[in-house]
Symmetry: C2
Subunit: 417 residues, 2 copies
Amino acid sequence: MDSQFTRIKGGVGAPQGFVTSAISCGIKNPAVERLDLALIVSEKPCASAGTFTTNRVKAAPVRVSQSHLRKGNLRAIVANSGNANACTGVQGIRDANAMCDAVAKPLKLKRSEIGVCSTGVIGLPMPMVRVEPKFPELLEKLGPKNGPDVAAAIITSDTHAKEIAISFDLGEHRVRIGGCVKGAGMISPSMATMLCFITTDANIPTESLRKGVLECVESSFNRITIDGDMSTNDTVLVLANGASGMPSARRNSSACKQFRAALQFVMLELAKAVVRDGERVTKFVTVDVVGARTYLDAKKVAEAVCKSALVKASWNGGDPNWGRILHAVGYSRARIREELVDIHIAGKAACIGGLQATTPMEELRAAVAEPEFTITIDLNQGDADYTMYSSDLSPEYIDFNRSEYAYWKQARKDGLV
Amino acid sequence: MDSQFTRIKGGVGAPQGFVTSAISCGIKNPAVERLDLALIVSEKPCASAGTFTTNRVKAAPVRVSQSHLRKGNLRAIVANSGNANACTGVQGIRDANAMCDAVAKPLKLKRSEIGVCSTGVIGLPMPMVRVEPKFPELLEKLGPKNGPDVAAAIITSDTHAKEIAISFDLGEHRVRIGGCVKGAGMISPSMATMLCFITTDANIPTESLRKGVLECVESSFNRITIDGDMSTNDTVLVLANGASGMPSARRNSSACKQFRAALQFVMLELAKAVVRDGERVTKFVTVDVVGARTYLDAKKVAEAVCKSALVKASWNGGDPNWGRILHAVGYSRARIREELVDIHIAGKAACIGGLQATTPMEELRAAVAEPEFTITIDLNQGDADYTMYSSDLSPEYIDFNRSEYAYWKQARKDGLV
């Protein structure tokens, strides 16, 4: 599928008719200059769609963006890193609204045309005193070439910014999709995971865009897990402004289908990038479950294996431990029969019919010594399948997440707590 | 409740009419002398009851013991550590049967009167060549004082043997309950977790014993978690031989109720001991969920919090991170309202109405610096509650579980793989 799309530069700024900017407000640490406030603006009205965390504890910006997306079409997104504005009550809603207003007024947009996103530490008030004075600078910097800065401004514990842009033809028109994503911890399936912004100059009607986004999220971001923890802030927002000049794609037209395939490609690349850059991750593991009785059985098996602490520890150790994989298959609550299960690691048989295969241990060890490999679990009971993308769990991950006390100390310095 | 029971010595050997023994076969490593084969025998017929893993991948001894328990009453238990005899197919069943036969014949019992249990590495054949020649020694050593040896023989990654024995009066008769337990990894609720053997000289009819065991397991072993991984081998077996001389307790009599309270006490003590001795565990955390709309809502919240990698990492770091607790409450799928949730740590308010409480951070940090503390989560929506016992997750846990390659190397030396 890759070959039909041309990779281009520019991230979310690559599509026509979008301007972006990113600046540093010192949200995490006033002493360190690091991009942490970003803005994406379409010069034209957009179709828009999004998905949000299914966590019942939702950050203030998630609540605000959900409401804005219901009211109509978004045309701009303002986002910060360093503070999640989650578990912050009424003041959090006020702060999220203030962030929308701060960009809406100068841009002559309605508050409800702004999407707002935050990511970072939970339970501390937004340091608005440092953010609000910076909005004139943020607006002034708006331009067509700052896409990579947006990608850099939304990362937290990520080790690097993650973005993509592609161009391809829809009929006679060349269109572009750009995207960026952040997320390295609190990554678990069953929702739109982490922050992801996608822009496109394709002309896709809102209804088609919504349907496409739901489908593409289901088979990309909802299929990754790092630590099994579902965030309070996860958001995917997609803006389509039609600035490529193509006529509006009709519902279910081949242009719509081609666009959806491209969106799927972009989202899956970004989702995989999140796993590869997971907190203290050393392995990228694709888990293919095949031969299940139903899609749901396949999904349960994939999720149990991808979330098992013991399986992930063995991947970290380069141990081709099919026994631990099979034990997670067993407790997945899927309908499985132990004596039918085959497990292949990088195409090499590790377990056949629930028993150890004859592949020499050295070959299996060599396979899991690679930084990326695929585990195929064949339940031999039907023809449903499901694929997930997971990582190992390292001692360094736990060590990295032991304490957020430094953030509290900074918040106290700021007089926020 | 503790006060009505007198703690005594002797573990599973403490009740009247039981003889036990334990020896070393070198199952893990022929070069190291370590107890790894144990036997518990009642001199009289017993009522018996048990619970087993709900994992669909069940070890051979689980399948054999389940079948024996259905056929009638067990009178002896043979158990080994070092090899789980799991994912071992037909040969595994043969080996488990051979272990039963090896003790049944000399004891003049039927094979179906023997319970058999194994714990250790998954997917490697039982090294019967080292086990079988040792049965005469195992039988010869049978005596009333070897209870502590049984507790020592069933441990694997546990740092120490875990046992208990109590005596108390049922009417005019003094009776005893003894128990031992192993389990330090692959510990997760929703079944009878790990291996646990309990003996008693109380005279309890089989039906009452079965009902009591199910109830007591539900509120003890099913409420603990270390790593969220459910084993293939988990088994609880209880033998009641009536050797105290008390008359058979009638169903629903006060003697039955008193016995059940004592059994509950024993199981909960053993369950907590498993968590305290969890692999590389540094904290024992009681999570009390109160004010839930239903029991199931309370349970979902407790399980989500107790299994969250990020919450457990923060406990490891001594970080009173209520935001991570609340985020796990949110994704638990329980019916909760963020703005109603109160979280107390060791009785100190950390979060009130979904927002940070005013307790000084130093007080909260001091509370989670303790090796044991309680987190109380009040959903303020009803009067259902649920308690779980959990541990932190340490970098050392992951490091400890990175590889089981040493076992494979030994198995190859033994010509088993």
